[in-house]
C-alpha cells in the first residue's frame, strides 16, 4: 500500500470561508491517493465485491464497480455515529446510500482528529471534516471524468454516483472513473452543498449494524475469540480504601483449566498517567485460564487477604473528624457521605460567579426560599461488562475491544509498557454501551499488562460484580438553591451552592445566570477513596433536575405558570442579559419550551394526569420535556413524555428520535431507581438484583419527540435528553403526590412518603 502525501499540513484541514451565496469553500490539504490492498470487507449487503478498490482519501474508497466503503472514524457506543458519520460523507460524495458499506476505522491519528466517543461531540466536531472528505472525493471524480471527456467540470452533474455531461449525453459511474480519480491532484478547495440540496442528511437511514445485531453476529469486544487466547479475570479489593496483602493461590492453580494466578500493578507510581487512567485499584490479583467459567470458579475459590491502605484512609479520617464524628475508620459509608456533604462541603465553598449585590438583596428580601437537593453515586452499568483483548509482545501490542478514548489508551500503553506508539495497534469494537465508563481505559491497560506478562494473547473479562464494584462512579452531588423575592414576588437574587464527592456539579454561567440581577454561584468538593468519572451528561445529569425542580417551586410560589415563568426569565436574559459569560442562547432555550408546550397541549387542562415540565441546555443542545403520569399503589406510572429538541440539523431523524426516547427513559430510570451506596468502603450493590435499572413495565408508555428545524450546524444528542427529564419527573411527582422530591432515587422518597401517610 503506497501513500502519496500532498505535503500540505494535515492539521490545517478545517479552515473554512463562507461564500456570499450561502455555500462554503473549505481550504484544505491532506490526502492519500492510493490503491488499497485487500481489505476485509463483509459481504453482508449481498453486493458483488469489486476487483479493485481506489482510496480517494482516508475516509473512503471506491470499488471499480461503484461500491463505496466509508470508514466511520469515531467509536460506536450506541449513539449511532457508525451510521450518521458516514451519511455525512455520502451526502457530499453524492452517492447512492444503498451502495455504501461502512467499516469502523481503526485508531489513526494521522488521518482522523478526535476519535473519541464523549461529550456528544462526534457529529458536531466531525461535521466539517466529514463533509469535506466526501466533497473532495466527489471533486476528484468529476475532474477525472472531465479530463476523460475533455469537457469542463462545470458542465458535469452527479446523481447517486453517476456523472453526466448533459451536452453530449455521456455518463459514467464512480466505479468506472475511480481509478483515474485516484491519480487526480487533490483540490486545494472544494465547495460544500447548501442545506437545501441535502438528500441523505435529514432522511431516516437504518443502523448499518442492525442486521448483525438482530442475528447475533460477533460485534462486541466480549465476542472476541482468537487461536491460543486465554481468559483473564481480576480479583480486586472488596472495599475502597483497601489493598492486597497476601494470597494462597496454590490450590487454585491446580483447578481444571487454570493456567496462572498472579498480581499486577497496572499503574506503578512512577508512571506518567493520562487523564483517562483512573482506578481505585491499581494492584490486582489476576486469574488466567482456558475458559470463562473455569476462571470464574477459580476466582470464587481463591483466598486473598486484604488490609487497609493507610495512604488512602488517612485523608478520609481527617474529613470524618472535621464532621465531628467520633468513630473514624477511613472507610467510607453513605451516612458519612451525607454528613460530610451537609456539614463540611458548603463551609468550604469558593465563589465562582457573582453579579450585583446578592448579600444585600437577600437581606432586603420579603421572602427567601431555600431548598437542598442530592443524588447518590451511580454505576454506569454498560450491558457489556468491561473487557479487552490484548496480544502484547516485547515491542508490539495489538489491542481490540470497547474503548471510548482509543488515542489516550494508546498513549497509556506506550507509557506503561514502553512500546513505541507506532507499534501499538488499537482497534475499536462496537460497544455494548459506554455512558462515560469506557472513557477510562484501566481495563485496556490491565489487559495489555497481563498479556505482556503471559506472553500470550488474552481476553480480560470483568464479571458484572467486578464491573459494578470497580468504581469510576457518577459522583454523589448536592446543591442548595436560595431565591430572594420582593413584596411583589419578583426574584431579586439567586444563590446556588453546589458540591459533591469528588466533583462539583455547578455550571456557574448557565441559566438562570444572566436572567437575575443579583446572582451568586459557589462550588465545593469533598475528597474520597472512591474513584469517580464522567457519566452520561456529567454534572448536568444531576443539577439539571435539581434546578428545574427549584424553578418549578419558584413559579408556584410566585403564582405563575411554570412555562410562562421560565419564558419571562429567558426573555430578560435575551433582551437584558446580566453579566457577560452566559453560556446559552436564550432564544433557542425559549424555543424548545414553546415547542414542547404546543406539542404536549400544555395549555389545555383536559387531562387527569399529573404533569411536570423542564428545559435544559447542555452539550450545545436544548431539550424541553413534559412528563405526564399518575401514582398508583405508590408506584409511578408514566403515561407520556413529550420532548422538544434543538440540536440544529438532524442528520438521521429516526435514529435521533431513538436517541431522545432512550435518553429520556434512561434519565427517568436513574432518577427514580438507581444508586450505589457504601458501608465501610464496600459497595452495597454489585449486580442487578440489588442495583435497580428501569425495566419494561416502568418505562413510559409513549415518548414523543419533536425537533426544532433551524438549519444550524448540528450539535450533540447522546447526552442532552438525559438530564432535564429528571426535573420534569420531580415536578410531575409533586403534582401527583403533593410532595416535593429532593433526594434521588425518588422511589425511596415515594415509598417513605407512603409509609408516613399510612401511619
Amino acid at each position: 500500500m503506497s501513500k502519496v502525501k500532498t505535503g500540505i499540513g494535515r492539521r490545517s484541514f478545517i479552515k473554512s470561508v463562507s461564500l456570499a451565496g450561502g455555500g462554503l469553500i473549505l481550504g484544505f490539504n491532506w490526502l492519500a491517493c492510493n490503491r488499497a490492498s485487500e481489505e476485509e470487507t463483509t459481504k453482508e449487503m449481498a453486493m458483488q465485491m469489486p476487483e479493485e478498490w481506489f482510496e480517494l482519501n482516508g475516509y473512503l474508497k471506491i470499488g471499480d464497480n461503484g461500491v463505496v466503503t466509508i470508514y466511520s472514524p469515531n467509536p460506536e457506543i450506541g449513539q449511532n455515529v457508525k451510521t450518521s458519520m458516514p451519511m455525512i460523507v455520502a451526502e457530499e460524495l453524492d452517492v447512492d446510500w444503498s451502495n455504501v458499506i461502512v467499516e469502523q476505522a481503526p485508531l489513526n491519528t494521522a488521518i482522523f482528529t478526535r476519535q473519541i466517543a464523549g461529550g456528544s461531540q462526534s457529529i458536531r466536531q466531525g461535521w466539517k471534516s466529514l463533509r469535506m472528505a466526501g466533497a473532495t472525493a466527489r471533486q476528484m471524480l468529476l475532474t477525472a471524468a472531465g479530463s476523460q471527456w475533455d469537457v469542463p467540470v462545470s458542465e458535469l452533474s452527479v446523481k447517486e454516483g453517476v456523472i453526466t455531461h448533459s451536452g453530449s449525453g455521456k455518463s459514467l459511474s464512480y466505479g468506472e472513473i475511480a481509478k483515474a480519480a485516484a491519480q487526480v491532484e487533490v483540490p486545494v478547495e472544494v465547495e460544500l452543498k447548501n442545506n437545501d440540496d441535502f438528500n441523505i442528511i435529514g432522511t431516516p437511514r437504518k443502523n448499518v449494524d442492525a442486521k448483525k445485531i438482530v442475528t447475533g453476529q460477533p460485534l462486541y469486544g466480549l465476542d472476541t475469540y482468537r487461536e491460543g487466547m486465554l481468559i483473564a479475570m481480576i480479583v480486586q479489593p472488596p472495599a475502597f480504601g483497601m489493598q492486597f496483602k497476601t494470597m494462597d493461590a496454590e490450590k487454585v492453580k491446580e483447578m481444571p483449566g487454570i493456567t496462572d494466578v498472579f498480581t499486577i500493578n497496572t499503574y506503578p507510581e512512577d508512571m506518567e498517567k493520562e487523564w483517562s487512567d483512573v482506578t481505585a485499584f491499581p494492584k490486582l490479583v489476576v486469574v488466567v485460564g482456558e475458559s470463562t467459567w473455569q476462571v470464574m470458579q477459580a476466582k470464587k475459590a481463591l483466598h486473598v487477604e486484604w488490609d487497609l491502605n493507610p495512604e488512602l484512609t488517612k485523608e478520609i479520617e481527617i474529613l470524618e473528624k472535621s464532621a465531628g464524628m467520633e468513630d473514624v475508620s477511613g472507610l467510607e459509608s453513605s451516612p458519612v457521605h451525607s454528613s460530610l456533604m451537609a456539614q463540611v462541603g458548603p463551609g468550604e465553598s469558593e465563589v465562582v460567579r457573582k453579579n450585583g449585590n446578592p448579600e444585600k438583596a437577600f437581606k432586603n428580601a420579603a421572602r427567601v426560599i431555600e431548598r437542598t437537593y442530592s443524588c447518590p453515586f451511580l454505576a454506569h452499568n454498560c450491558m457489556e461488562p468491561m473487557n479487552f483483548f490484548a496480544d502484547v509482545t516485547d515491542d508490539h501490542a495489538e489491542l481490540y475491544g470497547p474503548i471510548q478514548t482509543p488515542e489516550f489508551a494508546e498513549k497509556s500503553v506506550n507509557k506503561r509498557l514502553g512500546i513505541d506508539l507506532e507499534n501499538i495497534d488499537v482497534k475499536m469494537s462496537r460497544m455494548g454501551g459506554g455512558f462515560g465508563r469506557r472513557l477510562y481505559g484501566n481495563f485496556l491497560v490491565e489487559a495489555a499488562v497481563i498479556s505482556k506478562k503471559l506472553g500470550k494473547p488474552v481476553k480480560l473479562v470483568y464479571s458484572r460484580e467486578d464491573d459494578m464494584t470497580n468504581g469510576v462512579y457518577r459522583p454523589a452531588y448536592q446543591v442548595t438553591y436560595r431565591a430572594a423575592l420582593d413584596g411583589k414576588n419578583n426574584i431579586t437574587a439567586f444563590h446556588v451552592n453546589a458540591g459533591g464527592i469528588t466533583e462539583s456539579p455547578l455550571f456557574a454561567n448557565r441559566f438562570p445566570a444572566g436572567a437575575i440581577e443579583n446572582y451568586l454561584a459557589e462550588s465545593w468538593t469533598i475528597n474520597s477513596n472512591i474513584s469517580t468519572g464522567a457519566f452520561r451528561a456529567p454534572r448536568s445529569n444531576f443539577i439539571a433536575g435539581a434546578e428545574q425542580s427549584f424553578l418549578d417551586e419558584l413559579a408556584e410560589e410566585t403564582g405563575k405558570d411554570p412555562i410562562e415563568f421560565r419564558l419571562e426569565l429567558l426573555e430578560k436574559a435575551k433582551n437584558n442579559p446580566v453579566g457577560e459569560d452566559n453560556d446559552y442562547d436564550a432564544g433557542r432555550y425559549a424555543g424548545v419550551l414553546k415547542l414542547v408546550r404546543d406539542k404536549a397541549g400544555w395549555e389545555s387542562n383536559n387531562t387527569n394526569l399529573s404533569r411536570g415540565v423542564s428545559a435544559y441546555y447542555c452539550h450545545n443542545s436544548y431539550v424541553a420535556q413534559i412528563l405526564e403520569m399518575t401514582v398508583e399503589n405508590n408506584e409511578p406510572v408514566i403515561d407520556r413524555v413529550t420532548c422538544a429538541v434543538d440540536c440544529g440539523i438532524v442528520v438521521n431523524p429516526e435514529a435521533a428520535k431513538n436517541m431522545v426516547e432512550g435518553g429520556t427513559i434512561d434519565g427517568i430510570g436513574h432518577a427514580l431507581y438507581s444508586e450505589i451506596t457504601f458501608s465501610d468502603g464496600v459497595p452495597q450493590q454489585n449486580n442487578f438484583d440489588t442495583y435497580r435499572l428501569i425495566r419494561h413495565k416502568e418505562a413510559p408508555a409513549k415518548v414523543s419527540v419533536y425537533f426544532v428545524e433551524n438549519g444550524i450546524d448540528p450539535t450533540g444528542l447522546g447526552e442532552p435528553p438525559f438530564p432535564p427529564v429528571q426535573g420534569a419527573l420531580a415536578n410531575a411527582l409533586y403534582r401527583a403526590t403533593g410532595k416535593r422530591f429532593y433526594k434521588q432515587p425518588f422511589i425511596s422518597e415515594l415509598k417513605n412518603e407512603s409509609r408516613t401517610l399510612k401511619t
Binding site: 447475533g216 475458559s291 470464574m296 454498560c382 450491558m383
Partner: protein, 154 residues
C-alpha cells in the same frame, strides 16, 4: 470434564466440559455462538436468553448437562436468514442503540409471540420485564413486538 452431546439450532454438537458449566459459556466459549450475551450471570438482565424446547430461559442458569436431549435455539438459529418476523420487526423499527441486549430481547419476544400471538400491552411488559436495556429502547421494543404480532407469525 465430560463429553456431552447437545443439540443447538438443530445441529448435534459434542463438547468436553464440566457438566455444571452454564449453557451460556458453552455456547460462547466452546461453540463460538456469541450472539447469546453475558450481562449479569444471575438471571437478572435477560441478555443470555435462549429457547429451551421453545420457552425463553436464561442460559446463564442452565447447566449444560440439562441441555442434553433438549432442543436449544439461540439467536443464530432463530431463523435461517435473519428473517424471523420478530427480527424483521426489529429492523423495521430500527430498535437497537448499542444493541448488546437485543438478542436476548428478541428471544424473549419470539417466545412470547409463539405462545401468545396477539399479546396486550401488559402481557408484553410482563413477558419482557426480565430483559434490561440500559439504552432505554423499551418503547421501540414494544412497538416492534406489536408490529410482529400483527404480521403472520407461525
Amino acid at each position: 470434564m465430560a463429553e456431552l452431546n447437545i443439540k443447538i439450532n438443530g445441529k448435534d454438537q459434542t463438547v468436553d466440559v464440566d457438566p455444571s458449566t452454564p449453557l451460556l459459556w458453552v455456547l460462547r466459549d466452546h461453540l463460538k455462538l456469541v450472539g447469546t450475551k453475558y450481562g449479569c450471570g444471575i438471571a437478572q438482565c435477560g441478555a443470555c436468553t435462549v429457547h429451551f424446547n421453545g420457552s425463553a430461559v436464561r442460559s446463564c442458569q442452565i447447566p449444560v448437562s440439562s441441555a442434553a436431549d433438549n432442543e436449544i435455539t439461540t439467536i443464530e438459529g432463530l431463523s435461517e436468514n435473519g428473517d424471523h418476523p420478530v427480527q424483521q420487526a426489529w429492523l423495521e423499527q430500527d430498535v437497537p442503540q448499542c444493541g448488546y441486549c437485543q438478542a436476548g430481547q428478541i428471544m424473549s419476544a419470539a417466545a412470547l409471540l409463539k405462545r401468545n400471538p396477539s399479546p396486550s400491552d401488559s402481557e408484553i411488559e410482563n413477558a419482557m420485564n426480565g430483559n434490561i436495556c440500559r439504552c432505554g429502547t423499551y418503547t421501540r421494543i414494544k412497538a416492534a413486538i406489536k408490529s410482529a404480532s400483527n404480521s403472520q407469525i407461525a
